[in-house]
Amino acid sequence: MKWDEFFVTGDPMIYGADVSIVLTMVGILFYLTKYKKWKWLWDEWLTTVDHKKLGIMYIVSAVLMLFRGGVDALLMRTQLAVPEAKFLDSQHYNEIFTTHGTIMIIFMAMPFLIGLINVVVPLQIGARDVAYPYLNAVSFWTFFIGAMLFNISFVIGGSPSAGWTSYMPLASNELSPGPGQNYYLLGLQIAGIGTLLTGINFLVTILKMRAPGMTLFRMPMFTWSSLVTMVIIIFAFPILTVALALMTFDRLFGSHFFTLQGAGMDMLWANLFWLWGHPEVYIVILPAFGMFSEIISTFSRKTLFGYKAMIWSMLLIAGYSFLVWVHHFFTMGSGALVNSVFSITTMAIGIPTGVKIFNWLFTMYRGKIQFTTPMLWSLGFIVNFVIGGVTGVMLAMAAADYQYHNTYFLVSHFHYVLIAGTVFACFAGLIYWYPKMFGYKLNERIGKWVFWIFTIGFNVCFFPQYFLGLDGMPRRVYTYSEESGWGPLNMVSTIGGFMMGIAFLVLVYNMYYSFRFAKRETTGDAWDGRTLEWSTPTAMPPFYNFAKIPEVTGLDHFWRQKQAGKVEKLTANELKPIHMPSNSGVPFIMASFFFVAGFGMVFDWMWMAIIGLVGVFGTLIYRSFEYDDGYYVSVEEIIETEKISK
């Protein structure tokens, strides 16, 4: 391999990235060394198995990925702002939308949600930690390593450029040679392992670790939505694992699953991809639904409307999510019967989703609505998400989809659901639970600015795209002609995109501003909340979460206790030593070996892949022989942490 094939060259933007990556690395290393932070980093973060810290690391990574994906988006929007622009060439543009889509879905939306689930769900169910804290760390580190592997493709070897859907045979060796597509395969594969483990971990956590008295039908809605999401993850991610493995075999080991040669079948890739891909979009929307349920109920100061219907509708959506995948390729010519069946199943998903929308609205009915920023995002969600939803139903009408497919109509649909659904929820949830994670709220005034700039920018960016789609503008084109007449609306769209970018910058500024100036919380109940996570006496829960595991008597237990003025104060004599799991460096090391293996496979250096895999198995064996029963936190330490007067 020649050096010009290893390092990506020939573009000032890439050199800029090279330099900034090296500078950032040097800067971090320098900082860690100068302030003697290495040990702190290792003890507190790299080896932690605490769900709250893992959650925070997930969220930080996700925000970074939102930035990366967002910069990609703005580069695309810049190129598309005017006809015949020369800002990016075709190859670059293709790489950028591929990484944009992949990063936003796999490395931004999923980890953001999983991060919030990590922080919140164990607290909401009154647990000390998840069922498998060690495995939780493995999940995080494999996700993180997968994301890093995917991201370095930008400077080493070249990025994938076959779209986030990577249709074959375009993505095959013959038409897309080199490491780019391999990065996609290996990055997603490694991160996917972590996601599957998260699925099992949280399913068992929610089923088995609930505080006494919290029956399934007393669980908070976010916990419920997480439970349902985990079920989808458990059954959908193995499909992705296999699909990626098959394509990896096609590219590295000469098999013919999807290739042009050997009677491979390109349609099968599309089929397997969407068998995973459709459930995947519900994986990224259901936790969002759960968060909005919590927030809307909290700030309407009212019980959730139709609790049971909310649960059943989610279960329906989960079941349906495995029955609609063909709507992504109505145009493949599978015949009238297939298209009719999948049209109907797809449209049917609108029914339970509608039930949820109306239940949210009626949660506010007879409430006392407070317009905090999390609530604003939730209202914005309802208003904007329905646009995405009903246009989804339009896409589901196969005969009409022949005209929408592969156009900006579709692009607009999925941004309306992904941004107004998932991203709004991530912002809302982040702001809502920020005091739980960091001990202070984000500034509300600045927060409202962020909301309005982002929401308006979002509509300005994506609403015109419906019309571009109806005017025949296909997705994934890097430029278009003057005569097409698509120029003005694209310019509008680009302006909206940049407004979102500005809002993002203001959000980051808000984090800095609040870190410096925000008033510190003194109780654990920053918003007058309803669920158990707000019941810890300190602003940030201690590492063991609850000095004494709460006993639950009904839905919204904490809120009802507060209403009745019966919140119990802890006394020293009811405390018992608490059993906690020990930290471990193994997950981090195992993930590093995954990186070695993945990188080796990307470049088809089998010796390196084998070293990495041997390392992975080594850490597995090491762990199997390790009998670490954790440790006990003494009563004295608990008293000290909780500041209980004796």
Partner: protein, 143 residues
């Protein structure tokens, strides 16, 4: 409750295991005979052998794997275990039957990859020597 059975059962002779084993051997041989030793129609053969396969899977789950077993006070665990397997079976059927159906539908009749007489005109295309013939019976199965 299953708590007790789980323990009691394991004091005597492992009848359950033995019965399970014998049944699985019988079912295997029977499936083999149906498939290769009879001249039932293809559809019937498929129905029967897959019926047996599911039976045998259930056997393994119940006799060997103690899927209904639980050891906590609530029934939740065993319900989760069974529900999990049933949902897995649902997903499995959707994946397999769904894929076969969707990939064949609309394509089988004009999907010409198999019985293609390969092109005649290329120089460096040695690998495509004879080109095997397959009867259209294979294609019938798509429909």
């Amino acid at each position: 409750m299953a708590n007790k059975t789980a323990a009691n059962e394991h004091h005597g002779f492992p009848w359950k295991h033995l019965i399970g084993f014998v049944l699985s051997i019988v079912l295997t041989l029977f499936a083999l005979w149906i498939a290769l030793g009879t001249d039932l129609s293809l559809t019937w053969i498929l129905i029967i052998i897959f019926g047996f396969a599911f039976l045998q899977a259930a056997l393994q789950l119940l006799m060997f794997m103690h899927v209904t077993e639980n050891s906590t006070k609530s029934n939740l665990t065993s319900r989760v275990q069974i529900g999990n397997i049933l949902f897995a079976a649902f997903v499995a059927i959707v994946i397999v039957i769904g894929s076969v159906w969707v990939m064949a539908a609309g394509h089988a009749k004009h999907d010409k990859h198999n019985h293609a007489p390969k092109t005649e005109n290329h120089e460096n295309h040695g690998s495509h020597g004879g080109g095997s013939e397959h009867d259209s019976g294979e294609h019938g199965s798509h429909e």
